[in-house]
């Protein structure tokens, strides 16, 4: 009965101030339902409308990026899995984190891109956003998630943070964090 230590999991979630988490194959409807739950929760907490839009927007871009990445790489169900965690820090700021398996080269490229964006101020981010918006669609698709990353960086109140870990069997796990 205690195989999953539910009480321990619950305590862990509470200690970490985790509001919502998910691990597994993520579908379009699941993204919508989790997003809806997240929005309802923030409304009940009387969070400002702009902040709700920002947290929700980051969550949507992160999860849709993961779905698009898996679709582009013809990943099977197992590799189309996502790990998503949304919680708050000790100052009540919202943290949105999501991760997925990626090809190492893609992961390295994403890390470099996140690092580039972290060095930009609001005006620079707006300029690259507008530039990417006007980029030919093929190019935007090939570079992958370009506009989404910039959008998240603009909504995040601290620079995006990214991490790449060895996931065994030659794979790597890419994770991304934003804060509102």
């Amino acid at each position: 009965m205690n195989q999953f230590d539910l009480y321990g999991l619950r305590k862990h979630f509470q200690n970490q101030r985790i509001l919502l988490c998910f691990n597994g194959p993520i579908s379009r409807s699941l993204i919508e339902e989790l997003g809806n739950a997240l929005k309802k929760y923030m409304e009940a907490e009387c969070l400002q409308a702009d902040a709700i839009t920002d947290v929700f927007g980051i969550y949507i871009e992160m999860t849709q990026n993961i779905r698009h990445y898996a679709a582009r790489h013809d990943y099977g169900e197992h590799e189309a899995e996502a790990t998503v965690v949304i919680g708050t820090d000790e100052r009540g700021r919202y943290l949105v984190e999501a991760g997925n398996r990626v090809e190492r080269a893609d992961g390295e490229r994403l890390l470099a891109r996140v690092r580039d964006l972290a060095g930009m101020d609001a005006a620079e981010l707006k300029a690259v956003y507008k530039q990417q918006l006007r980029a030919p669609r093929d190019e935007a698709g090939a570079s992958g998630s370009g506009l989404g990353l910039i959008d998240m960086a603009r909504r995040s109140s601290a620079p995006l943070e990214a991490d790449l870990r060895d996931a065994g069997a030659g794979g790597t796990f890419f994770s991304l964090r934003a804060m509102v």
Binding site: R28, E32, N36, E61, K126, K130, L133, G148, D151
Partner: protein, 127 residues
Amino acid sequence: MNDLAVEKTQSTPAITADSASGLLKMEGDSYPENSFEFFGPVMEWVREQLSDKACPLHLELRLIYLNTSSVRAMLDIFDMLEAAHGRGVDVAVVWYYDARNQRVADLAEEFKEDCTFAFEITAEEPD
């Protein structure tokens, strides 16, 4: 010409289009995974409407959150309006937003920067 009436869903806005009056309305959140598929019929309607110089096109928006692929689709629509405006077609946009959500005004403002036709951004007080 066919008019449009698309019901709102959780991730897609309500859309109505009336070719006689030239009024196109979109209302709600927009974050479908495939925005080009979703906005395809709207783009087609806009293209048809603008192909005749005698037809006006007034766009009334109450869009709230747009994912980046919806932003791209809206940019295409605004580009079509801009080109038509250059040909002397009567085009105008009014984007209404909830006064409590400045993010929507910011988004509308960034679209407006690249447009030379009439583009109003109007705050509405919540009920």
